[in-house]
Symmetry: C2
Subunit: 183 residues, 2 copies
């Protein structure tokens, strides 16, 4: 049955939100369109009214997941501390898409990679403002290096099967950050 224009827009948002959560939690390949549509309280057939293909959904969902949030930490140090928290490590579904999907995204469509890259550029530009350094160039380098460091730290902390090592990885990265800030 036809639905109102508002309902159409809300359905589309629900599909995107469900896809953004599920992709981050289970990875692109392991999530089926059925999974996404069920989570959005719709049925399979309706999908193609909203998106061209699953690959199209991946790109759109990445853009959705990368959109700025209201409570985004303002300073580089706050951002890194929150990024390296156990809460973030244990909540892939709502965390950074680059950490959740980074090594898979490499093999996805250019659109998907582009959406993730755009979001990353925005974050880097934002973090550059509060990064240490006398010149803009030095601050940008610091922001790029810091983002790389916390990204790798989070990926590693999630990957290892040993909880003690996982905690140690987070702690070591936090320590290195504050050391760098002091010097």
């Amino acid at each position: 049955m036809k639905v109102s224009r508002e309902q159409v827009a809300e359905n589309r948002r629900n599909i995107l939100a469900a896809a953004a959560r599920l992709f981050r939690e289970r990875g692109f390949d392991a999530v089926t369109l059925d999974d996404v549509m069920n989570e959005a309280n719709l049925t399979r057939g309706g999908f193609y009214g909203h998106f061209k293909s699953k690959s199209d959904l991946m790109a759109q969902a990445c853009a959705f997941a990368m959109r700025p949030t209201e409570h985004e930490p303002q300073t580089l140090l706050d951002y890194c501390t929150a990024y390296l928290s156990k809460e973030h490590r244990d909540n892939r579904a709502e965390g950074c898409p680059v950490a959740a999907l980074g090594s898979e995204a490499v093999r996805q469509s250019l659109e998907t990679r582009h959406k993730l890259a755009e979001g990353t550029k925005r974050i880097i530009a934002h973090l550059s403002k509060s990064a240490p350094g006398r010149t803009a160039s030095a601050r940008r380098i610091a922001a790029l290096a810091s983002f790389s460091a916390i990204l790798g730290g989070l990926v590693l902390a999630r990957m290892v099967d040993d909880p003690a090592l996982s905690d140690e990885v987070l702690a070591a990265n936090c320590k290195a950050l504050t050391n760098a800030a002091d010097s």
Copy 2:
């Protein structure tokens, strides 16, 4: 037809080597057993004589890919420089499995994660020897943080669709490393 014991061992090694290459290049899900067996010059049916399942192969292939190589750089700085090179970025198939498969490995079997974690522990222990710091604990923290940093840098450099940004990410991480070494 039956083959000699030596041939059996060589076939197994060939399957592992093919899988280790293909998984890193295309990801776990996108590689089929047909792909692997063809690359090893065997046919599909023979697979189950060597491995219990595809999931078993993933774990074994990760262990294979993580085994120490002959030309492994000795010092932390050499290791990081090689890790952040464009050659490494552009050669996923023979590069670090953690960078190639890190965010996917999170969702794979405990065996797979364990093999990757074991290899990572070995590398961390190795890098700790040449890491800066007066105490063993400080050196270990430095090694963990450095490995996280180059891992994240490589994942990011591979992910972004903009070649200039990709190069910039590698360069920024190299710069940050040498800065840290100087201080």
